[in-house]
């Protein structure tokens, strides 16, 4: 494999000790940025040629800001495609950023593992945002396990400055070792604002070019066996570098208690235990065992403070590093200063219950309301999907019976139709939004035509012309790109369904004529054929936003 390396003339700002934090005086050059904005700015300053991803809270604003800062940012139909596009870009010697939320990495896992084998020629930085506490997600999986499973180096920033610095560091590591690098974020990094001092001058870039390297980039078993060995050797080299030069922060303190931590937990820990000695690990994979062991040996008691799974503590214990972890209950939800204090004090008293807030709900003028009213009235078994319309599960509709992951509505609906007694099977309807359909519903529709249940099936696309839940992102079905530029063509769900072999395809405006919609649904349920209904009405939030931006354009002109 050809190793191409960049000779830099710009040093990368790099936090190696807490004194660097202190040297950052409050100057006018400082910006107050979210972690997402900081990553976008670093991508711009780091010469990232292409940014791609799929929207998902809390990662969405990275690409939107990359576009705002002048970068080329694109929404892909889903995370797998985004990572593949990113991989191609990085094979072509370009610096590339791919963004997604934690569950998006499940979708992109296939290219993720292979990217680790082939490596890259340019830089491939994959920003993955976990959501501990599930503020807006269906699970709280810990993506750190993916870095280890695939053999992809991982950096974990603790605030926006580090989000900026580590993105540049990730580019450097990626180019130096020809490896994809993962930046693992959490909601409190993505959506918290803190001060950032950006680089004065952007990094030098280099031209895109493709150099043929068949054994390096074509993963047939014979080449992949070699690639796997190369991957492990590379990880050993990176581990050795991390031990010596990795991005650590050490806070001096009493030898009574030592804390090993990473990410936002570092901030909580410093506040919860101001007298403790702290080692914050910036690159948590490959794990710098020697450095941590040395730290742990120097204190009476060493506690690992980590959010989510007991991943780091388990690995350290397996290596014989004398550390303790947290109680099982702190695996659930986010850590806070209070919870870290409890972990350190071994406090087993019950935690105060959080006050219930007001739950989200469908907007008063949401067109999905019509659909859920009809589904509820027809007593359907609704296999649902992920988006605003998942709120149809809440009163007054309670019209959703399953919701597992992106695109699952169609497959789960088909599975139920196959096995349920006829009278029950014919009540099953799959409900999916437009963006989710493009993301991973299309293959479900192919399955429906390929293996039709005896009672047929009904798929309802709630098409509001936007990815609404994450805050109005475009997709291939809207006819607009990330920067709102119109595309020459747009995905036509009806034509697609007909070409796949779906027998009945209907389109209606549910708000314009709710009774027509209800009749259409009931007919489809009675017919026992393969049916797709597209309930098409733009999201009112989108309509208002478009009107407001047009008004401000007009005002600017006059």
């Amino acid at each position: 494999m050809v190793l191409m390396r960049v000779i830099r003339d710009q040093p990368i700002p790099f936090v190696n000790s807490i004194s660097v934090y202190e040297k950052r005086s409050h100057t006018m050059e400082q910006m107050l940025l979210t972690g997402n904005e900081a990553i976008a700015l670093a991508a711009r300053d780091g010469g990232v040629r292409l940014g791609t991803g799929y929207p998902g809270t809390p990662s969405t604003e990275i690409l939107e800001n990359f576009d705002r800062f002048g970068g080329q940012a694109q929404w892909a139909p889903n995370e797998k495609v985004a990572l593949e596009v990113g991989l191609g870009s990085a094979y072509g010697n370009a610096r590339t950023l791919v963004t997604m939320k934690h569950v998006g990495l499940n979708v992109a896992a296939d290219p993720f593992f292979s990217a680790a084998y082939t490596g890259v020629i340019g830089a491939l930085v994959i920003a993955v945002a976990d959501d501990p506490g599930m503020h807006s997600s269906q699970n709280e999986q810990d993506s750190r396990r993916y870095a280890e499973a695939a053999g992809v180096p991982m950096l974990e920033p603790s605030d926006s400055q580090e989000a900026y610095d580590y993105t540049l560091k990730a580019i450097e590591i990626s180019e130096r070792w020809n490896t994809p690098v993962m930046i693992r974020l959490t909601t409190r990094i993505c959506h918290s604002k803190s001060l950032v001092t950006p680089l004065r001058d952007p990094l030098n870039t280099r031209p895109a070019a493709f150099q043929r390297d068949i054994p390096g980039l074509v993963m047939i078993p014979a080449y992949a066996r070699i690639a796997h060995q190369r991957l492990r050797e590379r990880l050993n080299e990176i581990a050795a570098w991390n031990e010596k030069e990795g991005p650590f922060v050490e806070v001096e303190g009493d030898a009574d208690t030592g804390i090993v931590t990473s990410g936002v937990s570092f901030m909580h820990a410093c506040e919860a235990a101001p007298k403790a000695r702290v080692l914050k690990v910036g690159m948590t994979y490959p794990i710098p065992f020697r450095r941590i062991r040395k730290f742990a040996d120097g204190v009476k008691r060493c506690v690992v403070v980590e959010e989510g799974d007991p991943w780091l503590v388990t690995a350290l214990k397996a290596e014989g590093v004398p550390v303790t972890g947290k109680q099982e209950r702190y695996r659930f939800g986010e850590l806070t200063v209070d919870r870290v204090r409890r972990i350190l004090n071994n406090d087993t008293s019950p935690e105060p219950k959080p006050e219930p807030g007001r739950p989200p709900r469908l907007c008063p003028d949401c067109p999905h309301r019509v659909a859920f009213a009809a589904l509820s009235k027809a007593n359907c078994i609704v296999t649902g999907d992920i988006g605003c319309y998942t709120l149809g599960v809440l009163p007054p509709f309670e019209a959703m019976d399953t919701c597992a992951c992106m695109g699952a509505s169609i497959g789960v609906g088909l599975g139920l139709r196959h096995v349920l007694p006829r009278e029950e099977a014919r009540r099953v309807v799959s409900v999916i939004g437009d963006s989710t359909f493009v993301h991973s519903g299309i293959t479900g529709l192919a399955e429906m035509a390929y293996n039709p249940p005896p009672t047929g099936h009904v798929v309802l696309i709630l098409d509001n012309d936007i990815t609404a839940m994450t805050g109005m992102q475009e997709h291939p079905g809207t006819g607009r790109r990330l920067d709102r530029e119109e595309t020459p063509s747009k995905l036509n769900y009806e034509a697609l369904a007909l070409s796949l072999g779906i027998q009945d395809v209907h389109v209606c405006d549910p708000v314009d004529d709710p009774e027509d919609f209800e009749r259409m649904l009931n007919d489809a349920l009675a017919n026992e054929r393969l049916t797709l209904i597209v309930a098409r009405k733009p999201c009112p939030l989108l309509t208002r936003k478009t009107a407001a931006s047009e008004a401000s354009c007009e005002a600017a002109k006059s």
């Binding site: 409190r188 803190s194 001096e252 936002v264 806070t336 200063v337 469908l362």
Partner: protein, 188 residues
């Protein structure tokens, strides 16, 4: 350097802004943290977006001082709690420290009264900035920083009415504090 010194010598001030989606909580906390940054404080702010934009509870933590560590306000330590929606006082009161200041449309009724010539500060679109004006009377941040933050975070067509609402609330609250016992954080 010992981190212990950071914490004991540098008290951090914590503000929690709360309400429901659509009330401009995030905008208000952006203006607040920008004004604090302009005055030279270290600032961190943290909030949850996402599903909350669909009419659910929204809560934003802003912390400032010489050096701030955690972006989240620990329970029972907030110095100020600004709540824009009456139903959200209950769910958020626990974040306030014992003698912390609660600011709501009710506690600050006189500072956000409408004046016939001006847009009503209680109006949905101005309430966030009006309550920020009330809060500003308690914080050591010069007016110029506030003005720059308001201009920097709002689109131009909204500047006039927001700045009017802000200044009016700030002035009334400042006067009210002068005539009450200024040494007590809780004036009523």
């Amino acid at each position: 350097m010992r981190s212990g010194e950071i914490m004991t010598d540098d008290p951090v001030t914590s503000v929690v802004l709360a309400g429901i989606g659509g009330q401009g909580i995030v905008t208000a906390s952006n203006i607040l943290s920008d004004a604090l940054r302009r005055h030279g404080y270290d600032v961190k702010k943290s909030e949850i977006h996402g599903m909350s934009q669909r009419g659910g509870s929204v809560c934003s933590d802003v912390r400032f001082g010489r050096r701030v560590m955690s972006p989240m306000v620990p329970v029972g330590t907030a110095d100020y709690l600004v709540v824009m929606e009456p139903t959200q006082v209950g769910p958020n009161r626990h974040v306030l420290r014992q003698d912390g200041v609660l600011i709501t449309p009710d506690t600050a009724a006189y500072a956000i009264e409408s004046n016939s010539d001006e847009p009503d500060p209680k109006a949905e679109k101005l309430l966030n900035v009006a309550l920020l004006g009330v809060l500003s009377a308690y914080l050591d941040v010069p007016g110029a920083c506030w003005m720059a933050a308001l201009r920097g975070n709002l689109s131009e067509r909204l500047h006039d009415m927001n700045i009017k609402a802000f200044i009016r609330a700030r002035t009334v609250e400042t006067m009210a504090r002068l005539v009450t016992d200024a040494s007590k954080p809780n004036r009523r």
